[in-house]
Amino acid sequence: MRNPVKDKVAIVGVGSTGFRRNIEGRSRNSLAVEASIAAIRDSGLRREDIDGISASSPAPGYMASALGLPSVTHYTSGHVPFVFAIVDAMNAVFSGSAECVLLYHSVYRAPAISASAARDPFRRGLGFGGSIPPVPSRTDPESVAGAVGYAAWASRYLHEYNVGREGFARVAVSDRSNAAANPLAAVREPMTFDDYYAARMVREPLSLFDMDVPVDGADAFVITTAERARDLPNPPVLIHAATAGLTDRNEEDQIPGLRRHGQHVVVESLRAKSDIWIPDVDLYFPYDGFTIITLSWIENTGWCAPGEAGDFLKQHWDEPRHRILINGRIPVNPHGGALSEGGTQGSGHIREAVTQLRGQAGPRQVPGAKTALLTPGGFFFNAQGLVLRAE
């Protein structure tokens, strides 16, 4: 499979507001702006150098105006989960559409999923993820569209493989253990297995602790050529391979099954493009917006056979630190992931990978980390893969 962009483009700047369950009195745009300024400053570039924008929210025109970017030649928006933005910026830099691209993603608690957000009069009427809904529409609960689809396939997973929820529990507990050392994380108090099993059911068989934490915050990045990256202050992090995955059936209740969906396309593509693969990676970031997604990525990436992720995590459990440590050395979502840092749709995972590959992760630092495998997104419309490496 062709991959001419391999190692030609680098992530040179990162910025984050950190993530909290209760940031009050601030707009979503203010969070994105703060993270973007931090990322540009971190990169060592000037505002005049930024000639591309790959946005989630707000739109590129807003950001260029807010930051006073004088000359932008490439801009696109709407990228979630965040590898879509990475791929867009990578291609823009590789093709010459832009030289230095600003990327950002903001998340904002919606009133429907957060009691404190519901009390904020300025969030009234916001939809999922803080979006502005197009028109009023009926919301029949007898549906598995959207995030509910993961609970539906979790039921099928437990049924087909005749397993219990132990695997789900290990994903949730491990993320929480890792978040304790991450000051950007929204939820850092320890979680025991008893805590996990005591959590109230929300979309049975998934409970409160199987679902990511709604947060306010933003991450931002700057991407440029690997060549230019060598003249900038931070160690370059190279984009080695990136992909996304759809199949012929992607609606939540129509995917072929647990053995064939977007994740399988991602793994086939990424494995063909990448010179780096399991088990020879130093960092692993399977998406964890829901615990079932993590178990599925572990199986579909080939760490173990289908249905065996629970046993795999038991075998690779770092008991003293209550977390997953594959082969005694590879941490899984060392920042705490979507379940504990906060639901960032992948931007937090990518930010942590960059920080680790630069050697700047402080108490979380994996000694000598040179390569990272990331698989953001879920089953249906948004499975993605990314391999990053240090120069």
């Binding site: 007898e142 509910v148 039921s155 049924h159 049975e204 609606e251």
Partner: protein, 159 residues
């Protein structure tokens, strides 16, 4: 769709008036017209016979645009099953008793599925694999398709 003229009696204006908060297009209008006659009409290709859902303007299998809204038997088995302990507001749903949300694999074609709820079923009997059949309730003044256990597999007798 609509080439078979299945439910021509209900005008476009009436259809839109009966579903004021539903996004109805040329691709799904016959599907919702079917609801008003208590018939579950899914997208079937008249050229190759392939079924798909939700409705699409062409057949995924053969790319024919000769697709119609055709009635399914309504028989199938529970393939995916959630119990919602909280969720969006809907008339008659309070979540005090968790609401089952079930994806039914229909007998017409492997992988052809329809998602709704299962009624007239004790919670302890409801599980993946349960044989069910189509039934109808009402919501917002219009029929709404649901499923119930099949009497031939121990479901309750016809009312």
């Amino acid at each position: 769709m609509g080439k078979a003229g299945l439910v021509a009696a209900i005008s476009d204006a009436e259809l839109l008036a009966r579903f004021p908060d539903t996004w109805i297009s040329h691709d799904n209008k016959e599907f919702y017209r079917g609801w008003l006659e208590e018939r579950l009409l899914l997208n079937r290709c008249r050229a190759c016979g392939y079924w798909q859902h939700p409705p699409k303007p062409v057949c995924r299998n053969c790319w024919s645009d000769d697709v119609e809204a055709a009635a399914v038997s309504g028989r199938g088995t529970v393939h995916l099953l959630i119990r919602l302990h909280q969720g969006p507001p809907a008339p008659g749903v309070d979540y005090a008793t968790p609401l089952p949300v079930a994806t039914i694999e229909l007998e017409e074609q492997p992988g052809l599925r329809y998602t709704s709820t299962v009624v007239n079923c004790p919670p302890e009997r409801l599980d993946i694999g349960l044989p069910v059949r189509l039934a109808w309730t009402e919501r917002y003044g219009a029929p709404f398709p649901v499923f119930e256990p099949r009497p031939d597999f121990g479901g309750e007798a016809d009312a």
